[in-house]
């Protein structure tokens, strides 16, 4: 097998197993009471991290670039209660514009 197909197979099998683990082992059973408070905060914690890393991360370094302009514009659009599609277009458009002008 070529190395590219090996990567496809191993990453695929590993990811499928990671995604399936929780639902297969614990599926349909309620989590113990004391963990519900933890799960409640998992979404905000992970989403906060994703927003931060995808705004400032560039490989292993942190940079401030045109993405920040896009995300800031999106924040304003969200604050003005714009529909999601507009938020995306505003973010991408502001970033593309800033890049074109740079």
């Amino acid at each position: 097998m070529s190395s590219t197909w090996l990567v496809v197979v191993l990453v695929g099998a590993g990811t499928i197993a990671i995604k399936a683990a929780g639902p297969i082992l614990l599926g349909g059973k309620p989590l113990p009471e004391r963990f519900t408070g933890v799960v409640e905060l998992l979404a905000p914690a992970v989403l906060g991290a994703l927003v931060a890393v995808q705004t400032f991360g560039a490989g292993q370094s942190l940079v401030v670039d045109e993405r920040l302009i896009g995300v800031a514009a999106a924040a304003v659009a969200l604050w003005r209660k714009a529909p999601l599609l507009i938020v995306v277009v505003v973010a991408a458009g502001a970033t593309a514009l800033a890049r074109a002008l740079a």
């Binding site: 590219t4 998992l42 906060g48 994703l50 995306v88 991408a92 502001a94």
Partner: protein, 249 residues
């Protein structure tokens, strides 16, 4: 009560409960979980699916350029279905890295789906196969849309949104890997800023109380602090630790 006894009790209870849910007599564990439909999820995910399809085109173009041919990127999107990990694996190979390095990078990026899978597990009922299949539709966007903000998840929103995202991701990859060179790179359109914006849009409705806001800020701070030192993916997994703010004594 002993935990094992609780579990045994629960098993006998489960069949009856599943039947009740099937007949629409019961909305699932506790209250009002399955109030939304698959279609609600599919509808809510529309704007995300457009961005994901664009990202898929990007992935197809990049994977082809990295020597993956046209078929392997499509197979990878159909089986792995996790954008950032696929990008990482393909760019490691494209830069002349080893298979082990590429696989490790990708699986570290996907490690967050471990705790994420645990969080949705109580709401994925039914046979092991049915749970397994629906678990594959969990990606950041479908998971966050299904989150009801109180630690509960709507499995139908998860599946409806996940299926639409899956079609967008695999379809986009196919377009990119087969016809990519003619299209150019979607990144010039600012697509890389669309993703943090989308995640921000998913985050905002979750921030109704002080605790989630603290968790989001702490998660962001942990991830940024670790980015220069840890391999990609580790900062996100470490940030998940911020949810321990919610431990009940």
């Amino acid at each position: 009560m002993e935990w094992s006894a609780l579990r045994a009790d629960y098993r006998t209870d489960r069949h009856e409960r599943a039947t009740r849910i099937g007949r629409g007599l019961d909305s699932g564990s506790e209250d009002s979980i399955e109030t939304k439909s698959y279609r609600d999820g599919a509808r809510a995910v529309g704007p995300f699916a457009i961005a994901v399809a664009g990202f898929g085109i990007s992935f197809g173009v990049l994977a082809r350029a990295a020597g993956f041919g046209w078929l392997a990127p499509i197979v990878m999107s159909a089986t792995t279905f996790a954008g950032s990990a696929q990008f990482a694996a393909v760019s490691v190979i494209g830069d002349g890295g080893t298979v082990a390095a590429a696989v490790t990078a990708a699986l570290l990026l996907n490690a967050r789906y471990g705790p994420i899978g645990v969080s949705v597990a109580p709401y994925l009922t039914g046979s092991a196969w049915w749970r397994f299949l629906r678990a594959q539709l969990v990606v950041d966007e479908s998971w966050a849309l299904a989150a009801q903000g109180d630690g509960r998840f709507d499995p139908r929103v998860l599946v409806g949104a996940g299926l639409v995202l899956y079609c967008g991701w695999v379809g986009g990859t196919a377009i990119g890997s087969i016809a990519g060179e003619a299209l150019g790179d979607p990144a010039t359109l600012g697509l890389d800023a669309a993703f943090p914006a989308l995640f921000l849009a998913l985050l905002v409705p979750q921030l109704k109380a002080r605790r989630p806001l603290q968790a989001a800020l702490l998660g962001a701070a942990i991830a940024l602090a670790l980015t220069p030192f840890a391999p990609a993916g580790v900062p996100i997994i470490a940030a998940a630790v911020a949810c321990l703010l919610g431990v009940r004594k």
